[in-house]
């Protein structure tokens, strides 16, 4: 990075908002900048970058950037490094002002990070939030004394009521114009420790990662050295020079296993923090250091919400409502989107001249766009719930309550909500893994979420159970079909848990996962932040994942329709002409004749579609993969369905309809005809294609395989690379194939359900 500002480009004035999670940083950011934040990603990583223009009231505006909430400058991954790099940036990105957001109820933990930030030498302002909560909890902060101790202005705020806004803006305005860095608050370090830090500083200077050119550079160098000592080793960073790595490891080396360098550094800083708080904090318990406060409001609410009985009931109720909303309440909206797109397709078909281009536009492009938008209702609903649960503080309790179960397979409690949501739809569920901080845990959750049996699998289950099971058949009290359906859901949970267990010990091998989770106070969610979070997720999905889905939809459409069988097309065209030209028979009214003609034409269209599909690239693929899927009990016609189902599982029923020459396969009134055809379908050797065994095998295949390009597109987006989407596709396809093979072959060997 250039160390000198480009003289041509006017330097932007940057104000950084930094602080702990749950400190009210985002609420404050919204309060100051309005709801006009631009949200993007930091280059190359999936961490939200919120920025907005902040008017200072003196005619100037600054660029305000909301840094991800964190507890310290320790950063072991690219995601965590964002804050460090922003604060220590040089050149055009040098921040002019730091707004350090501190929660008045948890000052000591906040100041641990706050004093680290002040050390960087950027002019700063402390925004002291949650003043009303602190007062209720009997915590008294002497803001003047705190300001004096820290050497920067301290502005008390109740952000939810807008109190303190003007004072804060004035303080930011003053800070951006000041050239005076805040005084350096140095923890008391032993000579030994100071020497170790110095060796790392030297390595940084030698590696051109810092300099001692002036006092400002010297301060940045010191902060970077502390970051390096605490962060390097066990990290996921790839561009650390080896010389620096070696220097850091050496600086941490100890002769005797006494207190570690880490422990000494952290303890020294907390000693500094406790000293500062000694001058400005009084609590009703009479002590200002370390004493646990009297049971707080959150704690009393938790006496109910995480109670062994009431807590589990409340948990079940909340999860049921979330699931119900995703599964059932979204249905009317999904239908609306679908019918809207069907209407649009009809409209455009009428306007444009018939031909392959119109087909591509209508079925490929608009159909593809529909495939994107159709997920919007579920994404929006899930994020409304997740933001409410998260902002209220209950999401952390969900993790707390269910962690024990998730721990058994190497996940932590935060994976529960995404996995549950996966039963409705994997797309929002994958996006919901963002609430998991650890990258490894997040990737692991993302990889197993698509094994939750989503609602798109239901039409396939429904068709298969209807085809292969007699409604009169019962196992005990239950219809055999219902038992098979239930078994799919059980298998789904077992598969997801097993996959998490195995993947967590292979491709995502890491240290034994731990749970370190703050249980924030309960707070009333803000409508604005719920709306913003939901809007941003939807927008991101439509733009980023949407473009991939749209492109793949068009490709798949081409595969399903080309090449054309020219001879057959000509034959069908001739038949159409014939019907149109035919004179009405004697004694038939013009109206009836017209109706008969329309019906005959529709029948030809359907037959033509079937012929076209069988002749298309996808149809040939069906034949091509037949040898591979025959051991699973599938024939080439099912193969065509599988190719089509790669786009989205629910397409399977419609594709089978086309292969079997059924008109409107997904139309309820005509559905029995598809079922009848499937029931009668025979292999060349005379055996029935759809037996209870092959039907169940097909259901198992649909349960376990990654047939959803939208999920793959979203996993690519959320993981930042195709690699993880590829791993997911690979392991799920393998798992599906092997499991289906086992079911079918073992079933055949035992003569189960073959009749």
């Amino acid at each position: 990075m250039s160390r000198h500002a480009d003289p041509v480009v006017a330097r932007e004035t940057i104000a950084l908002f930094a602080g702990n999670p749950n400190a009210g940083k985002t609420t404050l950011f919204n309060l100051l900048t309005g709801a006009r934040a631009k949200v993007g990603n930091y280059p190359g990583i999936t961490v939200d970058k919120r920025s907005a223009k902040l008017a200072l009231g003196d005619g100037r505006t600054v660029t305000a950037i909301d840094l991800p909430g964190t507890y310290s400058l320790t950063a072991r991954s690219k995601e965590e490094l964002v804050a460090v790099e922003a604060i220590l940036a040089e050149g055009v990105h040098t921040p002019s002002c730091l707004i350090i957001v501190l929660d008045a109820t948890t000052l000591s933990r906040g100041l641990y990070f706050g004093t680290q930030l002040l050390a960087a030498g950027v002019p700063a302002v402390v925004a002291l939030t949650m003043m009303d909560e602190a007062k209720r909890a009997g915590i008294n902060v002497d803001t003047d004394a705190l300001s004096k101790a820290l050497g920067v202005p301290v502005v008390p705020l109740v952000a939810t009521r807008g109190e303190g806004r003007e004072q804060l803006i004035a303080a930011i305005s003053a800070a951006t114009q000041s050239t005076e860095p805040p005084s350096e608050l140095t923890p008391t370090l032993s000579d030994d420790l100071a020497k170790r830090i110095e060796t790392v500083e030297e390595a940084l200077v030698a590696g051109k990662l810092g300099s001692r050119d002036d006092t400002a550079a010297q301060r940045r160098l010191r902060v970077r050295a502390l970051w390096a000592i605490l962060s390097i080793g066990d990290d996921e960073l790839t561009d650390i020079p080896d010389s620096l790595r070696t220097a850091v490891l050496k600086a941490r080396e100890q002769d005797a296993p006494s207190t570690t360098v880490d422990a000494q550094l952290v303890a020294a800083r907390y000693a500094l923090v406790d000293r500062i708080l000694g001058e400005c904090l009084t609590t009703e318990t009479g002590s200002n250091k370390n004493t646990p406060p009297k049971p707080r409001l959150a704690s009393r609410i938790d006496d109910v919400l995480v109670h062994p009985l009431w807590g589990l009931l409340a948990f079940a109720l909340v999860m049921f409502v979330v699931f119900q909303a995703l599964f059932a309440w979204s249905a009317p909206m999904v239908e609306l989107v679908e019918s809207g797109f069907t209407w649009l397709q009809g409209l455009i078909k009428d306007v444009l001249p018939a031909g392959p281009f119109t087909d591509l536009v209508v079925d490929g492009a608009i159909g593809g766009a529909g495939a994107v938008v159709v997920f919007v209702p579920q994404i929006a609903i899930l994020f409304i719930f997740i933001t409410i649960l998260e902002d209220s503080g209950y999401l952390a309790r969900v993790a707390f309550v269910i962690d024990r179960v998730m721990a058994k397979v190497g996940l932590n409690g935060k994976a529960f909500v995404p996995m549950l949501s996966g039963f409705a739809c994997a797309i929002p569920a994958v996006m919901a893994t963002r609430t998991i901080e650890s990258r490894r845990d997040r990737l692991l959750t993302m990889l197993v979420v698509p094994l939750s049996s989503c609602s798109a699998r239901l039409p396939v289950y429904a068709l298969m159970t209807a085809v292969v099971f007699d409604p009169q058949d019962k196992i005990g009290f239950f219809a055999t079909g219902a038992v098979a359906l239930f078994a799919m859901y059980v298998l789904s949970v077992v598969a997801a848990m097993t996959a998490a267990f195995v993947l967590g010990r292979t491709v995502l091998k890491g240290p034994r996962p731990t749970l370190v989770l703050e249980l924030p106070p309960y707070r009333v969610p803000r409508a604005l932040s719920v709306a913003q979070a939901t809007y941003q997720r939807v927008k991101r999905f439509v733009i980023d994942a949407g473009s991939v889905i749209l492109a793949l939809s068009v490709v798949l459409w081409v595969l399903l329709h080309y090449p054309k069988d020219e001879a057959a097309e000509a034959r069908f065209d001739a038949q159409r002409e014939e019907i149109k030209a035919a004179a009405p028979e004697e004694g038939v009214s013009e109206e009836d004749a017209e109706k008969a003609r329309t019906e005959a034409l529709a029948a030809i269209d359907e037959e033509a579609a079937g012929v076209s599909l069988r002749h298309s690239a996808a149809g040939r693929m069906g034949h091509f993969i037949e040898p591979a899927i025959a051991p699973l009990g599938f024939d080439w016609k099912i193969g065509v369905g599988l190719v089509g189902a790669f786009a989205a599982r629910e397409v399977f029923v419609a594709t089978l309809g086309l292969v079997y020459d059924i008109d409107k396969a997904d139309d309820d009134a005509n559905a029995p005809r598809l079922q009848d055809k499937l029931r009668d379908a025979k292999h060349p050797n005379g055996e029935r294609v759809f037996t209870p065994l092959s039907g169940v095998a097909l259901m198992v295949f649909f349960l376990l395989s990654a047939q959803c390009m939208s999920t793959l597109a979203v996993v690519r987006r959320e993981s930042g690379s195709w690699k993880w989407a590829g791993i997911m596709f690979g392991y799920m396809t393998t798992l599906a194939y092997v499991a289906t093979l086992l079911v079918y072959q073992v079933g055949r060997a035992l003569h189960l359900g073959v009749g």
């Binding site: 207190t259 109670h307 062994p308 009985l309 309550v401 024990r404 749970l515 370190v516 989770l517």
Partner: protein, 73 residues
Amino acid sequence: MTLADVAIGGTAIVVGVDAPRPLALRLMELGLVAGTHVLVRRRAPLGDPLELELRGYSLSIRRDEARRIAVRA
């Protein structure tokens, strides 16, 4: 004695954290440094993890992690 041995509702004072590096550092940076008072507030309904109160906030860790934190009464 470790934090895992403290009865529910009891308090203790941290002596030190003995855990693999990233975990130890994380716990210390969250305030579990020598001399800090910790209240073991409750167990999760299924028995694990624990809820601690320290430095004015609530923190949840598993019993396995709590075993790594040496405390005195």
